[in-house]
Amino acid sequence: MNMTLSRRSFSALVFALPLLGTARAEEEAAHIMIDNFVFTPAELKVKTGTKVTWKNDDDIPHTILAKGGAFRSKPLDTGDEFSYVFAKAGKVDYFCTLHPHMVGSVIVTD
């Protein structure tokens, strides 16, 4: 009985480890789509340490510049991506320097 239990527990542990790993990786990565000149989601909430990746799905290049200058992407052509790891808590507003009516923000909490 004990043996069965521990074996089951062991199996569960073995299976759970990679799952935990995956879950953890997902927590630390988030995505923002650029489509039709809009950032989606326009407001993204993440935990500190999260790597956020923007991907441009438009046929026109866009850029990402944080207000205050914490990060600035190169021009992203169709399909290009840009990532930034948010290490500190707080709200960061950003926009596209080519089409400044395109704005978004990332809210980072501990």
Partner: protein, 311 residues
């Protein structure tokens, strides 16, 4: 405007064949620029015979290769080919920006090579696509900014007309529109100080200096301040690009006109989810691309613009 659907007869058709792809013909008369039918008017020919004629070309986006036009360099080449076929050689050309798609050296090289075949002086202003090199516009200025101030603005006089090229694609603010900035506005004020109010003014910039459609960013935050500095002049013509379609209006002594792109069309304001390239059937593309011819009659103030397409 190439608005010649009022019964095309054979003569019209022949004229269109000659003029196809050469653009907007401006004729200024009596202070109010009138847009004429595509050479449908004897007046246009008469005025171009006596006055100053120049071309406006815009938004060539060399390097663009997406669905809306897989070869933007080829359609630019078609536009330049048409210039050589014009009945009267224009005095010069203005390019109202977005020469390239991504500010890459090879794109500038290709554009220069094709546009150079027209063998005309070209006065450029940058579009936002021309200043996205690592140094935020150095690539553009190194090529085209030798006689320019600041980020690339300048003025010159030809045939009694004062031409002003402005830059409104740099240092854009989040949530905002096109931007001229204090330094450039100050320069503009100094530039036109002391000029007679009867001097015809042609001012050109990439993004419309007037508000065309705010939701898509089609306007310039401090454009009204620039226009206020020009208000006292009897004839002001404002030529822009950026929106890849013709929009025009007349307000007092000011005429506003935007040119077609030579690369791809964009949707009319509010008719699509975004201002992105408009994909049209291949056989329709060239009806939506083109350039503009501007004629200023000597001894008169009026100016005529004729837009025509690559079709």
């Amino acid at each position: 405007m190439a608005d010649h659907d009022d019964g095309i007869n054979r003569r019209h058709a022949l004229e269109c064949m000659i003029w196809a792809g050469t653009g907007v013909l401006w004729t200024v008369s009596g202070g109010v620029p009138k847009s004429l039918n595509l050479l449908g008017d004897a007046q246009a020919a008469e005025q171009s015979a006596t006055g100053l004629t120049f071309l406006q070309i815009s938004d060539s986006h060399v390097g663009f290769d997406k669905a809306a036009n897989p070869n933007a360099l080829a359609t630019l080449q078609e536009a330049i080919d048409k210039v050589g076929a014009m009945p009267q050689r224009p005095a010069f050309m203005i390019h109202t920006g977005d020469i390239t798609h991504l500010s890459r050296a090879a794109e500038f090289d290709n554009a220069d090579q094709v546009i150079g075949k027209a063998k005309l002086d070209v006065h450029y202003v940058p579009g936002e696509h021309d200043v996205i090199d690592e140094d935020g516009g150095k690539a553009y200025l190194d090529r085209y900014g030798k006689n320019a101030k600041g980020a690339g603005w300048y003025s010159f006089d030809q045939a009694g007309v004062h031409f002003i090229g402005l830059v409104n694609v740099l240092d854009l603010k989040a949530g905002g529109l096109g931007n001229l900035g204090e330094e450039q506005l100050k320069w503009l004020e100094d530039d036109v100080r002391g000029k007679s109010a009867s001097t015809p003014i042609v001012v050109f910039a990439h993004v419309p200096l007037w508000l065309v459609y705010e939701k898509w960013g089609w306007g310039t935050d401090d454009g009204a301040r620039a226009l206020a500095l020009l208000k006292r002049f009897g004839s002001v013509t404002v030529l822009n690009g950026h929106i890849h379609q013709i929009v025009q209006k007349v307000e007092g002594n000011m005429t506003f006109h935007t040119a077609r792109s030579t690369a791809f069309p964009q949707p009319e304001p509010g008719t699509a989810p975004s201002p992105g390239p408009k994909v049209v059937p291949a056989d329709q593309l060239r009806t939506m691309l083109g350039l503009s011819t501007v004629t200023i009659a000597s001894g008169q103030r009026p100016l005529a613009i004729v837009d025509s397409t690559l079709a």
